[in-house]
């Protein structure tokens, strides 16, 4: 499904079909007529035909609907909120997180913790970062608040594991440096809105 469809929130213009339902008969004669018509209408056979036709479609026309899940996966919506990813800067490969702690602050279930320190380049270094996935409710607030789009929800929805801790450390979530070229820009919760440019004022610069 393309992003455009997700962004189109104007559900009012969708094409709904209204069912043409009869009114429940109230007179005896009306009820009798309904019984007769229902008895002799071939509606039941329509039903039989539909299921039979679908079986033919499935078996012989390749219209089987099943996704063979563990072997085949459907693409998920960019709005989906699964296990977090920590992204890197594409240019330098440095992690994007600046250690501002906003995610830690906003987290509704208090499950983000981080250690920061002053590094040799006089920058704030995130020495460790962890999310307690036993408590995370995947609300997406952290992704939304992050000023750097550093923490985002990734597509890893298979969260069953012997230990949730096995994907909750900084290195586990960080884009592997050798897969930097595969890193996707996040489109979901907290991403820059399409009209962001219209909403900001420009700062004059002397140079």
């Amino acid at each position: 499904m393309s992003l455009e469809q997700f962004k189109n929130r104007n559900v009012g213009t969708q094409n709904y079909k209204t069912l043409d339902l009869d009114h429940t008969p109230v007179t005896g004669m009306g009820q009798f007529k309904q019984v007769v018509s229902r008895t002799f209408k071939p509606e039941l056979f329509v039903g039989l035909w539909v299921t039979f036709r679908e079986m033919i479609n499935a078996l012989f026309r390749g219209k089987m609907h099943t996704t063979q899940y563990p072997f085949e996966k459907l693409p998920i919506s960019p709005r989906y909120r699964a296990i977090h990813d920590m992204l890197r800067l594409l240019e330098s490969g440095h992690y994007r997180c600046i250690g501002c702690g906003l995610c830690e602050k906003i987290c509704i279930s208090n499950c983000i913790t981080m250690d920061t320190q002053y590094d040799e380049n006089q920058r704030k270094e995130v020495s460790e970062y962890t999310i307690n996935f036993g408590r995370c409710i995947f609300c997406g607030y952290c992704a939304e608040v992050c000023p750097e789009l550093a923490i985002v929800h990734g597509p890893r929805y298979e969260t069953a594991s012997e230990q949730r801790a096995s994907f909750s450390l900084f290195e586990d979530m960080l884009t592997p440096i050798d897969q930097l070229n595969l890193q996707q820009e996040y489109q979901g919760f907290g991403a820059i809105s399409p009209n962001a440019d219209e909403n900001i004022k420009k700062t004059p610069l002397a140079y």
Binding site: I98, C100, G101, E104, D115, Y118, R123, E128, K201
Partner: protein, 776 residues
Amino acid sequence: MSEVQTVENMVSITIDGVDYKAKEGEYILNAARANDIFIPAICYLTRCSPTLACRLCLVEADGKQVYSCNAKVKEGMEITVSTPDILAERRAMMEVYDVNHPLQCGVCDQSGECELQNYTLELGVDSQSYTIQDTKREATNWSSVLHYDPGLCIVCERCTTVCKDMIGDAAIKTTKRGGEALDKAWKDEMPKDAYAMWNKLQKSVIAPSNGTEHTNCSDCGECVAVCPVGALVSRDFVYTSNAWDLKKIPATCAHCSSGCQIYYETKPASIEDRTEKIFRVTNEWNYVSLCGAGRFGYDFENRTATKDATTFAAAVKAFKKAKVINFNSVITNEEALMLQTLKEKLGVKLINREARAFQRFLGFYSEASGQSLYSLDFKEVMATDFVMSVGSSLRNDNPNARYAFNNVQKLNKGAGLYFHPVGDTLVPTFGKNIEMFAHKVGHEEAALLFIIKLFADQDKLPSSVKEQLDSDFVELLGGDTAKFEKSFEKMMKKKESFSLMVGEDLYFHEKAENLAKLIAVLEASSEVKVAMIPPKTNSLGVALICDLDDEAEGYTIGYNESGDFKLSALGDGDLDMPAMNQQEGTLTNMHKRVTPTNAALEYNGYVLNDIVREVASAPKETIMWTEHLPVSKGFKAVEFDSLPNHYTNDGVEHRGYLLESTSVEVEEISVDKFDDSNALEGEIAYRCNPQRQFNDFSDKAHQIFEGFGLYTSPAKAEALSSKVEVEFANGKLTLDVIVDERMEGDIVAIPDFKSAENIYELFAGSRYQTVTIKEV
């Protein structure tokens, strides 16, 4: 606050059409704050002089625009906080502050409590109209604790102001930035004050005032506390935590007798280690100023303690057979009361050298003056305009006494007299009207007599004093009579209130009784009021609560001191005790105030109360002793949990309660004759700690670097090798020689902060001793 708010000294003003009362002569800003009215202001610090750096506090008073931090209220004054013009000014100022301010709130340590952030939002700055080329400004470390990032600095001058007006070091100043000059065109385009502010801002940054890259100051960290932005941060704290993650625990600093209000700010140490750790100490910097030990010496907790029943049983056994308990003043009132209870029930003797000396001195003073406590607290000292100090090494003994001495000079256009055998280069720089007397050791009585001579009403003096006043004290105390007379005349101009601070030298003086009497005489016959500096943290509390003994023998329990069985909050004794940041209780500080402190860190071992419960009887919790502190000594029977610990907007201190002091009529005092031949001669050692060291606990903290050694003036150090042996009458020490740039003269200082070194024994009940210094 010292002044009583009577109807006479209050004036009526209106702010935005509402009537308020304000103290006469108060700045509009303070009057507004006292009445809970908000006026934007950045550069003003309550107890310092206005600098007019930010100009944000602009208000309209009686139709004229004035700076509210600098304009005093007048009867009937009509004040408008915001007019359209002022709003335009303020907005322009905030825009100017934001010009080239790095967009790094995300990492900045001040984010969340940053005044630049707050005012930018408050004034709704959502666009920028001004621009100028930025100047490269590199972050530097000024000292072992100070980290300055000029990129973030808004040159509000709060740091320089507090350093000069409060701390007295004046170690930092504004200096040239070397930035692009402002385009003159702005002058016509933008509001006037904003332009003026920008013009100055664009030209300056802050730098150490000694012209080097390093401050060489007392490393108090007060500049860090007052900095409204993230420009000044302590090196240890940079980038380690966000303000909002820290839990503030209101407490009382346990290092010296100032008993400053502090917050221990804690959070779990790291991801692996979830135990709470103190990340920094903050304070209500508008109303209280810390010293370096208070601000940086916080991690002295006893981490290793566990509840080990065997050692506890051994402790109980030791207490049962104990004859003596040897302790010091780093102890809460509650614990002191427990020890006193043990004395009453088990008959043990209580030994606490510094508190005992102070207790005796206070006793002599009370006897002579009829007052149970000394007259002034140190806030009141700060409000006087002539301050004197006798018997205390002002720079080292007690930061608040020193701040008071300095603040009087700076804010009250005051004058000061400083009497001390150890010369000091810093004190005279506090103000223009300071005379320093580096008198001989043993001439303290002469100093007091001299003060009596200067200030007392001759008719009120007892004859035993009057007859001693004929000598030329200036000469005797090492000054130049003619010069002094001239300067004293200047000093006395427009002076109304006088204060005298006395210190530990007098308590450990062999003529202590006579000195105390002289003080009583001075108070009775002049306008000079006296404040005493209790020697150590809770010496005043211990002196009031415990019935201390002078000498004792037998099986000794040492509490943070040596003994046959040792209780120690340092983790090196037989049974662990909680350190001050791990326990609740009250401390009695030099402001005669009983202040509560709270536990910032967890403690897993036994406390004194557990032992007292076993060997005598005790309530369930330590803090249940609070309400039983002796009312006869001025304490109040109030529960610990009802004690407040905060300041209100008008600067009133709501911390615990003030001790009641009582006074009775006394008969005429008769003093001994002063004998000027008693002066100590030869090589003299002085028992005195370096600036940020007070006890084993400050020493344990990782940000306090001052070592245990022989402190000397630079000149004296020349004559000594780097390591020396100091021989006392009853022992000797081998010490490294450490130069204290601000000491003068030949007297050397030996610290007492390490209790294991038994320095008190070596000095044998005095603060000065003749010693032999040998090279090793």
